[in-house]
């Protein structure tokens, strides 16, 4: 499998504070890559670098190279096109203040798709992929914000899938939802693995173990180590990695 995303000596500063310190790693195509680490270790910043939503935070400085399919994201002129290639799911569910249908159709419409049949098809496919379809198919015109938390999180996932992304980033998607929904989404992700690269930021080390091909362990803005999932769990190079993954600190 070829390399999909590459971080070359990436350092991110928020004003004086260092959020990511000299990160170097590779993510292969169509794998599940998990990022674990305690709070404030730079996991979310890592994701924001990939789709350049980090540009929206004033006072940020990104050094080093971030390559997506060999192309430097910070050299790209059309940041909107880049963002459309990358689906993003946030820690807290974000139902946008519009109907369920419009929530999912938002991205495709921005991309210029306007045919009703085509949009209908996208909405249905994405809601099915995110196992929300059966619960909402009769009330697609209801406000997305009126769904329950777990449903909204699946709506967020459906929206992230609506642009047929080549990369899907999930930032601690399960912290605000129940275990059953979490398992459902994990199953969905396993199914999507053949179609896209999945980056899973998580606080649940067992989730990472279940899902990921590779794991990177971040601590205090630094990449402590990264490698194959089982190796990191069973035989890590650094002692601290083993202690974190086995739940002895964090």
């Amino acid at each position: 499998m070829s390399v999909h995303i590459e971080f070359n000596n990436v350092t991110v500063r928020y004003g004086q504070d260092i959020a990511l310190d000299d990160i170097d790693l590779e993510i292969k195509e169509k794998e599940v890559f998990s990022i674990v680490g305690p709070a404030n270790s730079g996991k979310t910043t890592f994701l924001k670098c990939i789709n350049r939503t980090i540009d929206l935070i004033t006072g940020t400085k990104v050094d080093g190279k971030i390559l997506v399919s060999g192309e430097d994201v910070n050299e790209m002129n059309n940041v909107y096109a880049l963002r459309r290639r990358i689906g993003m799911v946030f820690p807290l569910p974000v139902g946008l203040p519009m109907s369920i249908y419009d929530n999912v159709a938002y991205g495709p419409r921005r991309q210029g798709i306007s045919g009703k049949a085509e949009l209908d098809e996208i909405v249905e496919r994405c809601l099915k992929q995110s196992v929300l379809w059966d619960e909402v198919k009769d009330r697609l015109q209801m406000l997305g914000t009126k769904l329950s938390g777990g449903q909204q999180q699946r709506l967020t996932l459906a929206r992230a899938l609506s642009l047929d992304p080549e990369i899907l980033c999930l930032d601690e998607f399960s912290i605000a939802i129940d275990p059953v929904t979490t398992m459902k989404i994990e199953e969905v992700l396993s199914g999507l693995k053949d179609e896209m690269t999945i980056i899973l930021v998580t606080n649940l080390t067992q989730q990472a173990r279940r899902m990921a091909d590779h794991i990177a362990f971040f601590n205090a803005s630094e990449l402590v180590e990264w490698g194959e999932t089982e190796k990191l769990f069973e035989n890590p190079d650094k002692e601290i990695t083993g202690r974190y993954l086995n739940g002895e600190f964090g």
Partner: protein, 311 residues
Amino acid sequence: MIRKSQAKLGAFLDKAEKPIQWLITLCGWSSIIFVAAIFIFILKESWPAPLTLNWGEFFFSHRWIPVPAEGNEPTYGAMGIMYGTLAITVVSMFIAVPLGLGSAVYISEFATPKLKETLKVLIEFLAAIPSIIWGFIGLVIMGPIIQKVFGVAVGVNLLNASIVVGLMAVPLIVSISEDALRAVPDSYREASLALGASKWEMIYRVLFPAAKNGLLAACMLGVGRAVGETMAVWMASGGTDNIPENFFDPMLLLERVKALTATIAGEMPEAVNGGEHYQVLFIVGIVLLTISVVINVVSDLIIKGFKADKA
């Protein structure tokens, strides 16, 4: 361990719960009492004119001649001044709403933090300018400009008053809509932009719908301001109560108009206390009050309608 004094305070607060509740209830009801009292007061001052007034003439004639020439009966046709108030309100909102919403969007979404603070202070300053100063600007600055640009003899007219009132309403609309936009969670912005939407699409498709109640309230307050403004309107509108033949003629902007508020303010000092003219001016006050109440109720209904939307 709880000290004695603390225990005492606790016991006191337990006992005080009921009276405090009463006090708060009273505060809540006071606004209703005030509104009712104002209405009753105005009605009382206008009495007995509501019984004797020719209401058909009041609403459908523009012959407002409270002090006629010798030998004639006074007439109180208020249609012209009602038209004046409505015209100023509508035209001024065409100026104030786009300008106000535009600056609110700029301040909340585009300005750097430093610029944001500066602009907010300036806008508050704009809101603090007394209305007599605005009237003055209309009279001595806007007036001559309008005379020159449009080649008309008199520069105080509907356009002048609307620009002045519109600018007066802008700070109100800006500060309330900026609050409403700021209240939209950042997660909405991020989610929208992460889908590859441009900033403008994000503002139009996500922020406006999310903040619509606040934005609407801001515009309604602007309308209220325009309806109720007195001094600046008086100075900048020209004071003639004509009824146009065609309401959509753009030349109407250059006609002089007279507003309900300015009529009351201008004629009250000349009206004989307790006389018919005096009483009719209070009826004009009731009309004004009714318009404000209707605006409030309508905006309430619109907001409720939005809330019920797609529920």
